[in-house]
């Protein structure tokens, strides 16, 4: 492959690359003679050695007819592998240049700052990644997010959402950093590479875009969606009380003015319904992780009930070792437990829903801090928070990768 890159400086229009399948020693001999003949300016990318291996030859346009006639005359099977080398290399060069430009843009993106909705992630985060070693990253304008995939159809997948509660800015800021980190580490870090080689990762960076925009324009402490509640001056539904898991039960309010209003019915909020529909139609999610702030907690289901889930022991164990990994960076301490036992009984939560539809590895993070700054975490803590959280998240994802079900 490196030979292709080196040759991009030459004019290669209508040059082709032929793949030749020698079937006998005689064929091999003939191909060796072809290689020795400098007149046709052939460039053998792989050398004739054995009938087991194909022989790839770059043939200049001027020599194409002659070479093909030669191969046909001796009944040596071949086919055109690359139809126009220049075109292919132009594409690749464009890709490299685009990639370099995106990387420059991404490096000038300030991961250590809070951004508005329109500028929340590096420009063309997804395009930057697409050309790298076949790691496909698809993104959409709204809600901001990324899908990391190295191909395959409906591979086992991991769902991660950030910013479902709009005032929890460090959740979104951390997700942006982690998306960039995951892309950078692919092809470099063996664990991330093997993870993305087997599983797809869906990362929703601003899961409540309307709320997030509102925290910038009007009310920094806004938590909910911005949907209109008929008959009330108060807007918005708590998107983490709106899931179909013990919906309408304890720990959620029926008052539209409340910050924990569950909404008129389960999945009434488009922000929630979109995720539900995606996860259900995909049908192959193996983990569901929700990122919130603040309190420094790593929790698993249930919130709607204080009964232990069947997989409680395993989830607790994974949670504890994830927290150990997280703490290893800066000594930040986290508590681990079910939502109901650690903070409160709360019905209609996302990870309760995901667990109950069969996604065993369901977790919720509450990031820094423990109350000193609370929702108003200084920007200089974004990267430290994201870096340590990444270690915990990575641990969970590796565990999911290694424990298929």
């Amino acid at each position: 492959m490196t030979r292709r890159v080196l040759k991009f400086t030459f004019f290669l229009n209508r040059h082709q690359v032929l793949r030749i399948n020698a079937e006998s020693e005689e064929h091999i001999q003939l191909l060796k003679e072809l290689e020795d003949d400098e007149g046709w300016e052939l460039d053998f990318w792989t050398h004739p050695a054995s009938t087991d291996l194909p022989v790839d030859v770059h043939v200049p346009f001027a020599s194409l007819h002659a070479v093909k006639d030669f191969l046909q005359a001796h009944k040596i099977p071949f086919h055109v592998m690359i139809n126009n080398l220049q075109e292919l290399l132009d594409e690749e060069q464009e890709g490299l240049e685009l990639s370099a430009m995106q990387e420059r843009n991404a490096r000038s993106f300030n991961f250590g700052a809070y951004h508005t909705l329109d500028t929340v992630s590096p420009p063309d985060l997804h395009t930057q990644l697409h050309t790298k070693h076949g790691l496909g990253v698809c993104g959409g304008p709204r809600p901001p997010g990324a899908v990391f995939s190295t191909g395959g159809n409906k591979r086992p997948a991991i769902w991660i959402d950030a910013g479902i509660h709009s005032r929890e800015w460090v959740s979104t800021a951390s997700a942006v950093w982690m998306a960039d980190k995951m892309a950078k580490d692919y092809g470099v870090d063996p664990s991330v590479t093997s993870l993305l080689g087997q599983m797809d990762v869906y990362l929703s960076i601003v899961t409540n875009p309307d709320g997030y925009a509102f925290t910038h324009t009007s009310d920094r402490m806004w938590r909910k969606t911005r949907s209109v509640n008929p008959g009330s001056v108060c807007r918005g539904v708590d998107p983490n009380r709106n899931w179909d898991a013990g919906f309408g039960g304890p720990g959620a309010s029926k008052n539209p003015c409340s910050d924990s209003y569950h909404g008129p019915l389960a999945h009434s909020e488009i922000e929630v319904k979109n995720v539900v529909d995606l996860v259900q139609s995909h049908g192959n999610f193996k983990a569901f992780i929700s990122i919130h702030a603040y309190s420094q907690l790593l929790m698993y289901p249930y919130g709607y009930s204080c009964t232990s889930v069947p997989h409680q022991a395993e989830l607790d164990s994974v949670g504890r070792s994830a927290v150990q990994a997280l703490s290893s960076l800066y000594g930040t301490t986290y508590k681990v437990g079910s939502i109901c036992k650690i903070i409160y009984q709360a019905s209609g939560g996302s990870i309760d829903w995901s667990y109950d539809v069969g996604i065993k590895y369901s977790f919720a993070f509450e990031l820094r801090d423990t109350g000193r700054y609370g929702f108003l975490l200084p920007a200089n803590q974004i990267i430290p928070t994201a870096s340590e959280t990444w270690l915990g998240l990575k641990h969970i994802m590796e565990y999911v990768r290694d424990h298929p079900y």
Partner: protein, 235 residues
């Protein structure tokens, strides 16, 4: 079940779980009302052991062993034990906290307090500010003692409002306005936003606060304000 006034049931609590955490939170507010200052604020960093006993007549008593430190002065952690009694009743009443605080780390802050007091007791002093910290977590260095002072004052309210179903924190100082010094006490009008983690509500309180190095922090008046609908409801 048992005679009136006798202890009924004793239950060990997981110190990481919410019952113990909420009680520890109330203790933190209590300590700050006693010992907090523009230059000293305490945080309960960890509950190590917790136990409850239902007191038939009076309410629910918690026994805690915990660690606490002054995070403004960056003191070392102190390990203490405390009893918290949440009273029985229909209306809100603050928990009663009993402990001995002789071992609480109290770093020497008198020089800082004096300097601060001198500066702002000048006749023309009229400090004012809003959104502390701002949306991005920034606080002007000069405003930090006022932020600390707000947290101490807020602790009085948070303690008053605490029960087994609350977990209060001060989320932000919405407004601060210095008023005329009276009786050698600096006085401030504060508007603070409290966050109750259990209900997830943001609650606005107006506080009239006085302070001097000798007088300590006093909350003279409190007023509960309606939640701000910051833009008109039609938007």
């Amino acid at each position: 079940m048992s005679e009136e006034g006798l202890v009924m049931t004793s239950r060990d609590l997981n110190p990481d779980y919410y019952e113990a955490r909420r009680a520890g939170n109330a203790v933190q507010h209590y300590i700050n009302t006693l010992y907090g200052s523009p230059f000293r604020l305490y945080s309960v960093t960890q509950v190590h052991k917790a136990r409850t006993e239902a007191m038939a007549d009076t309410g629910m008593k918690y026994f805690l062993e915990f660690s606490v430190k002054d995070w403004v002065g960056e003191s070392s952690e102190w390990h203490g034990s405390v009893e918290v009694l949440y009273p029985r009743g229909e209306t809100q009443a603050p928990p009663q906290v009993q402990g001995s605080w002789g071992g609480l780390p109290q770093l020497n802050i008198s020089a800082k307090e004096q300097e601060f007091y001198q500066r702002y007791s000048a006749a023309d002093s009229s400090v004012s500010g809003k959104d502390i910290p701002d949306s991005y977590g920034n606080i002007d260095r000069e405003m930090k003692p006022f932020w600390h002072l707000a947290r101490v004052a807020a602790s009085f309210v948070m303690l008053n409002e605490s029960n087994e179903n609350t977990l209060y924190n001060m989320a932000q100082v919405a407004k601060i306005t210095q008023l005329e010094t009276q009786d050698d006490q600096l006085r401030f009008d504060y508007e603070v936003l409290l966050h109750n983690m259990v209900s997830q509500e943001i609650i606005r309180w107006k506080l009239l606060v006085s302070w001097s190095p000798a007088g300590g922090v006093k909350v003279l008046e409190t007023e509960l304000l309606p939640r701000c609908h910051c833009k008109s409801p039609t938007q």
